[in-house]
């Protein structure tokens, strides 16, 4: 596959993914109850999602694509 096309698909995927995550987080911020453990779960999820996004970005450049 062409590198530019793959890059566009990857960027569109990441943009959709993080827009959806941001929407959920905004929704949670509106309705979260004070003084509970929800913040822990949110931070754990965000840490995992950010780590996986960074790993995927690094792996993207190791894909056998045509330049």
């Amino acid at each position: 596959m062409n590198f530019l096309l793959a890059l566009v698909i990857y960027i569109v995927f990441m943009a959709c993914y993080w827009a959806f995550v941001w929407t959920i987080l905004w929704h949670l911020r509106e309705y979260t109850l004070p003084n509970d453990r929800s913040r822990v779960y949110i931070v754990v999820y965000l840490a995992i999602a950010i780590t996986l996004s960074v790993i995927s970005l690094l792996l993207f450049f190791s894909l056998p694509l045509k330049y």
Binding site: F13, Y17, F20, V21, I24, H27, L28, E30, Y31, L33, D36, S38, Y41, Y45, I48, A49, L52, S53, I55, S56, L59, F60, S62, L63, P64
Partner: protein
């Protein structure tokens, strides 16, 4: 956001029992292993898979699965009953961005019914609580934990509110 009255205090917040979401969580965990079945089949059919590309697609897949699990938790977390000293606020999270909020004052409560359906519910101590109020519809929370404690709390504060008026 929930706005409390000047002397109102939150007594308890009730989320559904974890049994309510365990089916979805197990389904997502099983789906997580799907690539381990598909990848050998692709190699068998002669489709070349490098370690880098396999890992890349697995990471993307993992991101989607983890997002799905997070959505399951969000729906579970936002579906809640808040019992305060004056009222019960029933927040019914139908789907991720679809919620229904209703509330009833404790002094109007006429009847509280608990239903512990079956062996599993008895062992794991969860059940359904239905509250009937005067002149209003009944409110039910499905698969709530500590049903006896919740029932006692609602009835105690209902009597207290009725005696104060």
């Amino acid at each position: 956001m929930i706005h409390l009255g000047p002397n109102e205090k939150v007594l308890m917040t009730i989320h559904r029992h974890w049994i309510a979401i365990i089916g979805k969580v197990i389904a997502y965990i099983l789906i997580l292993f799907f690539p381990f079945v598909v990848a050998p089949a692709l190699i068998k059919f002669g489709i070349p898979l490098t370690i880098g590309s396999s890992l890349f697609f697995f990471i993307i897949y993992l991101m989607i699965i983890i997002l799905g699990l997070f959505v399951v938790w969000v729906e579970y977390y936002l579906d809640v009953w808040i019992i305060t000293t004056d009222r019960v606020i029933d927040i019914n999270q139908k789907s991720l961005f679809n919620r229904e909020i209703s509330e009833f004052v404790l002094k109007n409560i006429q009847d509280v019914t608990i239903d512990v359906p079956g062996l599993l519910a008895t062992f794991l101590k969860y059940g359904n609580i239905t509250v009937q109020t005067a002149g209003e519809a009944s409110f039910t929370i499905q698969q709530a934990p500590n049903v006896y404690k919740v029932k006692d709390l609602i009835l105690d504060y209902s009597r207290l509110n009725q005696n104060n008026n």
